[in-house]
Amino acid sequence: MTKTVTDVICPFCGTLCDDLEVVVSDDGKQLLEVYNACVIGTEKFLHSQAKDRVTRPRLRQADGTWKEISYDEAADYTAQMLAKAKKPLMYGWSSTNCEAQSVGNEIAEISRACCDNTAAVCHGTTLIAVQDIGLPTCTLGEVKNRADRVIFWGCNPAHAHPRHMSRYSIFPRGFFTGKGQMSRKLIVIDPRVTDTAKMADVHLQIEQGKDYELLNALRVALKGEWLPDVVAGIPKEKIREAADMMKSGRFGIIFFGMGVTQSIGKNHNIDEAIAVTKDLNEYTKFSIMPMRGHYNVTGSGEVFAWQFGFPYSVDLTRGFARYNPGDTSSIDLLNRGEVDAMFTIGSDPGAHFPISAVKHIANVPSVCIDPHLTPTSGVSKLHVPVAFNGVETGGNCYRMDNVPIDCRKVVEPPAGMLTDEQFLVMVRDRLKKLKGAA
């Protein structure tokens, strides 16, 4: 006998699909089938069942081998590392739930650490831009129900957010968009002819690194002012055509991704894209939304913000919260050699930071909490495997449009394995004793 769990939330990307169905064995110990998920989400659920999973903490020995240790020993090691460090960096948080993030923030507060999430290498520059100029946005259902102009700028949902287009942005038939895809004009801006661009009504194959200029040209075109003949490799006629197409819609949305956040211009690219959106609201209704990557990077930003006041790159070393990317941001902290201990959870900086930053991680005391084997666990002194959040434990998460959705537990973790939150509580309680905190 099997049972089917419905309304399951997919813990992969910021699309946070919540309509999955998962078939599990009657005893709830085995996960058998996954329905409705994309190929990546399916893999995430199924991989939890891998027979070769590491299920106990392991400490790197002098000869380079791993030694299995207990969770108690691992929590002792972690607490002591944090207690000793003058400037520990607690990084990650985007692939765990808000409950764990909250305990993590207590730990960071007690140890007076720097804490940061994966926005650092994803949409951190978006957050800087939002701080500079604001953000006219909406929930994804608004896009589904109303949008007749959809722009993907420097993002490729066909690969990175596979169900985004069918659930929200291109294909769905909503309240005022009964003809689905036929109700919408699609514009894609990307230096490559991406699989998303192939579906577009208009594809502007922009010269890489010139997003700021092209966005500026769009603003100029909206105002009907003078333009140079070619901007960012795009003739001015095409720019004016795109501007008119945007203006003529009743409800438009710009989705953007790492094509703009990580290219030169960075926060300013988004700043200008938001300015375009703001300008368009003089003519019609327009919104803009970052295509957030990790399924709960948004949640981490929310929890940081209501507890410390800032969404990422928070420095608590002076005993109170400070924030200034460039100074308090992970990559800068590592590249500048500012930190003396590294705590990683729910992310893989080893794979996703430039190698210069990873080298610094390898040089300091380090703990990696992750269900997987990763490049980060590969360079850390202690690896603590934990249950898969969203599969083997539930917990609240925030979708890319900031909508909170409580994840579901669908299957039991392997016997004796702890969740992120459980392990963090052990660390917190030990740290409190070490630091004599209230």
Binding site: C98, L140, K144, R146, G319, R322
Partner: protein, 570 residues
């Protein structure tokens, strides 16, 4: 639980009609009692003022737009973050404090209950996560209904019973407290970049007017018998001449009677009335409409209001009135955030500097002063700053100073760059009234508690009520040498008790209390049509499933307190 006796304080309690008499207040098992044993801990309140814990009826302190404000305003925290200290977690934020700071600041000023004034239903889980992390104070949150598609569709056909059943469902799944209405119809229009500026403007597509929405929601509210009345932010906020729209809105309550078991006598609460009391046709001839608004409210006893006092600070405006925030960013060119929420509502956020050197800001300040001073019944007018819209709630002590001291008001008026304009466009110069401590207790305790349907629980010091008590270092027997002493006294309590727990001593947090989430659990008769409608909307138009919508469980509401309403008899 400990027993306490607060001795020899000057007690101000409108619930019992006590006007500054020296009286002992006894606390046992979390409640005010007649007597305690000899072992009770004695709190010496001689020479001090004792009141019930204050009740905040309208503030934006938890949820998505508040946090968006925190996220996008790092400069609001520059050089103002505070370290971990004893019981206190780190804090920060001037106009949008972190959740921990929010709880501590309220408690330190003697507030023990607060209402989050606008909860987007789809984000209720977020609102509750923040409420959970706001220590000490009891909190409830008002889901917004005035632009909700179900409400628009039901009320277009005047289906009160269906609207009521839907409200009951929504309060349950969002763990909500009351029916909030913001710019009725206008925010739905804003989804297309439009607005409804009068009560008769049609809502695009839905073929209904703001007036029909407001009347229908009052009827549904009273059909259910909810603890709080319908709580409204009317159309046309903040524009010169808007007082007429406000009067039109207030007139919609004409003839409506309260129906509930909570002791509430009113059917409409007009919030941040200062923003809705503007005469004139533009910012040049802008003038006060406080007299027109308060005259109407004074005469119509089924209406309550709160003030929305401008505190003359740099702050952050945030409201579910999406089109207003878009209008505002066009005026001050500061950063604009907006979020439209599918089928339900929207919200906008814009920083704002209320400069004493700008005549409009100074006139707004004066209107905020006029309203409470012109209201004849302090039980129907409550002090708010519409935090953080007109100023941060941490400025309540300063607002109290201005209201209690004409001298303090005159000092402020004289400091305005455009003093003459303030005096010509408002009547503040001719108002001599100074609020008494008893009136203050009415406006901040007994009054809001009654209107929220909490009269039996808080806002007073009658035996049997929750032991929420504030003791201020303010001696009513002594003349006030300097009005600033008022501000100092109300900034930091000598003691605050929340549900019988001593949470503040000498202005410092000594206990994080047992914070509760207040919500309203309404039983209604089965309504298959509404349930089917809800089901259908989730399948077709929402971007999440119905089964993931409810705020459920310990993580969101660890310590719930439900006010039970039985509406099955109707």
């Amino acid at each position: 639980m400990s027993e306490y006796i607060i001795k020899n304080g000057h007690v101000f309690d409108p619930v019992q009609g006590i006007k500054g008499d020296k009286k002992d207040i006894a606390i046992k098992d979390g409640k005010i009692v007649d007597k305690v044993g000899s072992g009770a801990k004695v709190i010496d309140a001689s020479g001090k003022t004792v009141m019930a814990g204050a009740v905040e009826i309208h503030a934006h302190i938890a949820g998505p737009k508040v946090n968006l404000g925190r996220i996008y305003r790092p400069e609001d925290k520059l050089f103002s973050c505070t370290p971990t200290k004893g019981m206190e977690r780190m804090g920060g934020g001037a106009s949008i404090p972190t959740t921990f700071k929010t709880g501590y600041e309220y408690a330190k000023m003697g507030y023990t209950t607060a209402m989050e004034a606008a909860m987007p239903p789809m984000f209720s889980r977020h609102v509750h996560e923040e409420i959970r992390d706001t220590p000490i104070i009891d909190e409830g949150a008002f889901p917004v209904f005035g632009n909700n598609w179900f409400v628009l569709e039901y009320l277009k056909n005047h289906e009160i019973e269906n609207t009521a059943a839907y409200i009951a469902w929504m309060l349950r799944v969002t763990k909500g407290y009351a029916v909030k209405v913001v710019n009725p119809g206008g925010t739905e229009a804003w989804a297309w970049g439009l607005n409804c500026l009068s009560v008769n403007d049609p809502v695009p597509y839905f073929d209904i007017t703001p007036a029909e929405i407001v009347k229908g929601l009052i009827e549904a509210n009273e059909y259910l018998g909810l603890p709080h009345s319908m709580h409204i932010h009317p159309n046309n906020l903040g524009n010169p001449g808007c007082y007429q729209t406000t009067l039109d809105t207030l007139a919609l309550a004409k003839g409506m009677k309260a129906n509930n078991k909570f002791g509430r006598e009113t059917v409409m609460h007009l919030t941040h009335s200062q923003f809705h009391s503007y005469k004139g046709t533009n910012w040049g001839d802008f003038e006060s409409g406080a007299k027109e608004i308060t005259d109407y409210v004074n005469q119509n006893k089924n209406i309550t209001i709160d003030t929305g006092n401008v505190t003359l600070d740099e702050t952050t405006t945030m409201t579910a009135d999406g089109p207003f925030e878009h209008h505002l960013t066009g005026l001050n060119n500061l950063k604009w955030a907006n979020c439209d929420v599918e089928l339900e509502t929207a919200a906008g956020v814009v920083p704002y500097i209320y400069s004493p050197n700008i005549s409009v800001c100074a006139i707004q300040w004066a209107i905020g002063m006029e309203i409470p001073l012109m209201m004849k019944d302090p039980m129907r007018c409550y002090i708010t700053t519409d935090h953080p819209n007109a100023g941060p709630f941490t400025r309540y002590p300063r607002v109290i100073k201005w209201l209690m001291s004409k001298k303090a008001r005159d000092t402020q008026i004289n400091a305005f760059k455009h003093k003459d304009k303030v005096l010509s466009q408002t009547s503040i110069g001719s108002i001599d009234k100074e609020l008494s401590l008893y009136e203050l207790a009415q406006m901040t305790r007994a009054g809001p508690a009654r209107t929220l349907g909490l009269a039996n629980m808080c806002g007073g010091l009658k035996p049997g009520m929750d032991a929420d008590v504030a003791v201020y270092n303010f001696n009513p027997d002594k003349p006030v040498a300097n009005p600033d002493d008022i501000e100092t006294a109300f900034s930091r309590c000598a003691y605050t008790f929340k549900s019988g727990v001593e949470v503040v001593r000498n202005g410092e947090i000594v206990n994080n209390g047992h914070k509760r989430t207040l919500w309203v659990n309404v039983k209604v008769n089965d309504n298959p049509q509404v349930m089917r409608d809800i089901n259908e909307k989730f399948i077709k138009y929402y971007s999440m499933t119905q089964n993931n919508y409810e705020a459920l469980g310990h993580h969101f509401v660890p310590n719930p307190y439900a006010l039970e309403v039985d509406a099955t008899h109707v």
